[in-house]
């Protein structure tokens, strides 16, 4: 495993800039999750690190050594693709053994059998080893795909939304499993997703990408509590942060245009009266939809609330985030 450094990486396709001046240090053993919407340049960044694409500018270093110009095979990385790319003409066992049999590794057969068995056990696909790769369910295919990465000990594991095509239960299971595997192996992992739950639960570091730029990089908690921009604040948190005109309540700092209120950042019982629109019981949480001066606000409330649509409830910000007209934070650093 290695420390991976990206330095001022740039890559564009025609007129669209997919990766714009991205610098990032991925410490050895870190689980870095890059979060961003579709088209933010997440996949391009992975392909640059893997060597499937070459950057127009910038440098990529594994343990201080530049890997630019090296073939993917020479970089010693693994990659799990969004679309499971199992070799359809091979069995599961052959798929898992494929990287170990490469001209680069030439692993002895006994060693291959041992490693494949181990990984199959961990990913619970041992009973499917002799199936054709195409005879598996989507979840099994993706587990084999991940397994094909885990049989090796590369400089870094790259994963491109590996769980996005799975159903909710399997996604939750594999999330825990991946985190556990990464922690036990001490593997360095660069993981790309648009799912904030994956980012929050697995990452040691979260990077938020927006239109090819890395907007913020830090621990999940730091990024959640102290977002650098409105964009970052919106990416993290469920229900989504409420964004309202800054002058809805008094006390906004100079230059503030938008106030960001996370659902848990709303104090009830004092402040301005809002009307209750809807109460949603989701089981684990109860959401309260409010309306204030024509603005929708969502907050969380006790499950046994007796509020009903039409009722009035006074609310007030608690630890709000303020943003300027361009979406940048203006009170950053004051909070901690």
């Amino acid at each position: 495993m290695a420390e991976v450094v990206l330095e001022r990486l740039r890559r564009s396709f025609g007129a669209t800039v997919a990766t714009d001046d991205v610098s990032l240090v991925i410490p050895d053993g870190a689980f870095v999750v890059l979060l961003g919407p579709t088209g933010a340049g997440k996949t391009t960044l992975l392909r640059l690190v893997s060597g499937l694409e070459a950057p127009e500018a910038g440098d990529i270093r594994f343990d201080g050594r530049s890997v630019l110009g090296l073939m993917p095979a020479e970089r010693n990385v693994t990659m799990v693709f969004q679309q499971y790319s199992l070799y359809p003409h091979m069995t599961v066992r052959e798929n898992l053994a494929f990287p170990l049999r490469s001209p680069r590794l030439r692993t002895p057969e006994a060693e291959i059998a041992r490693k494949v068995g181990e990984v199959a056990e961990v990913l619970r696909i041992a009973h499917k080893l002799d199936n054709r790769a195409t005879a598996l369910s989507g979840g099994e295919m993706q587990r084999v795909s991940i397994g094909r990465a885990l049989v090796r000990t590369p400089a870094i594991h790259l994963m491109d939304e590996p769980l996005s095509s799975l159903d909710a239960k399997l996604r939750a299971d594999l999330r825990v499993e991946l985190k556990r595997i990464q922690a036990t192996l001490g593997a360095t992992l660069l993981y790309v997703t648009h799912d904030q739950i994956e980012a929050m639960t697995m990452a040691t570091h979260v990077g938020v990408l927006d239109q090819g730029r890395l907007v913020q990089f830090g621990s999940p908690r730091e990024v959640y509590e102290d977002p650098a921009t409105l964009h970052v604040a919106i990416r993290l948190g469920l229900p989504r942060i409420n964004t309202l005109p800054a002058d809805l309540w008094p006390g906004a700092p100079a230059g503030a245009r938008v106030i960001g209120l996370r659902p848990e950042h709303i104090a009830t019982g004092r402040g301005r009266a809002a009307s209750v629109q809807r109460v949603e019981h989701l089981g684990d949480q109860t959401r309260l939809h409010l309306r204030l001066d024509g603005h929708e606000i969502v907050t969380l409330i006790d499950p046994d609330t007796d509020l009903e649509p039409g009722d009035s409830l006074a609310i007030e910000p608690r630890n709000p985030l303020y943003f300027d007209a361009a979406g940048g934070r203006i009170d950053r650093g004051d909070r901690r």
């Binding site: 993917p72 693709f81 070799y87 003409h89 494929f98 001209p103 680069r104």
Partner: protein, 312 residues
């Protein structure tokens, strides 16, 4: 449960369509059956009118096909009685076998040239199709159109220039010349067909192989080729059928050493009367290799014909 699925046709419809398909198969197979039957008729039965559907089978046609014969006096025939079944057939007509005919070597020429050019077309076609499918080739569309345009006129239209060219560089009547020519004609078909098949194989497989520690060439051999096997097989069938049946160039460019079976079979007629059974026997044997090759690869061929119509 009775099998009543909305997508499954009813029993009567199945019967009707079965009959129609059967009838069509009969019509298309009839000439083939006729040729096969004629091969086993005697010369008299072969030209009998009305045609004989029931006849006494004989191998005379096949013996005539493979041998050259000369007339012999009855005394000499009596002095040297036939020892084998084929000598007996010949002697009944008052003839003896003078030696083997050239059919065997012509047939072998067909095999060498047909399969040789098929292999070369598919081999070069696969490499070219892969490059066109995966690499950024300058002027790619123009090149592809140019390759296709070589098939826009009947190949025989350029017969005279090719004939002169072949004579000048000494390729006339050689195996290499015919293989080269058929490969040149087939290559455009091979490139276009195979490009379609390779385009259908997602790049992700190769990218995965590159990351799994393989070079581009290794990834091509281990991941692309096995998945393109279907396309390669059906392309090979199309190429073989063309090279195997080609007549015009073969007549023009070959005479002795490299003559293939198609121009040879009609010449049998001229040797010692109208020997239709021998012609039919030659045609029957000539059909066999392509038939066997096609039956062996028929699953792939079906996919080759319908390819593009249904997504995998």
């Amino acid at each position: 449960m009775s099998a009543t699925s909305p997508t499954e046709p009813g029993a009567r419809l199945k019967l009707v369509s079965g009959l129609l398909v059967g009838l069509y198969a009969l019509i298309t197979l009839l000439p083939l059956l006729w040729i096969i039957a004629t091969g086993f008729k005697s010369s008299a039965d072969a030209i009998a009118y009305p045609p004989k559907l029931v006849f006494e089978p004989t191998l005379e046609g096949y013996v005539n096909l493979f041998t050259t014969q000369t007339r012999q006096t009855p005394e000499m025939l009596a002095a040297d009685p036939p020892t084998t079944w084929y000598e007996r057939i010949v002697s009944e007509k008052g003839m003896v076998i003078a030696g083997p005919s050239r059919f065997g070597e012509r047939f072998l020429n067909s095999i060498i040239i047909g399969f040789g050019s098929t292999f070369l077309s598919v081999f070069l076609g696969t490499l070219a199709a892969y490059a066109f499918s995966r690499y950024r080739v300058p002027l790619k569309d123009d090149l592809l159109f140019f390759i296709l345009s070589t098939r826009m006129m009947p190949p025989i239209a350029v017969a005279i220039p090719i004939f002169l060219m072949f004579r000048t560089i000494g390729l006339s009547d050689t195996h290499a010349g015919m293989i080269l020519l058929y490969t040149a004609v087939n290559l455009s078909l091979a490139v276009w067909l195979l490009k379609g098949f390779i385009d259908e194989i997602p790049r992700e497989y190769e990218e995965a192989a590159l990351i799994d520690g393989y070079s581009r060439f290794h990834a091509f051999v281990k991941v692309v080729l096995p998945q393109a096997a279907t396309g390669i097989a059906s392309t090979a069938i199309f190429c073989l059928i063309f090279a195997w049946n080609e007549y015009a160039f073969a007549v023009l460019l070959t005479s002795g050493t490299a003559q293939t079976a198609p121009p040879f079979i009609p010449t049998i007629i001229g040797v010692g009367g109208r020997d239709w059974p021998a012609v039919a026997a030659g045609a029957t044997l000539f059909l066999l290799p392509v038939m066997v090759f096609t039956i062996l690869l028929r699953k792939h061929l079906l996919r080759g014909i319908t390819f593009g119509a249904v997504r995998k």
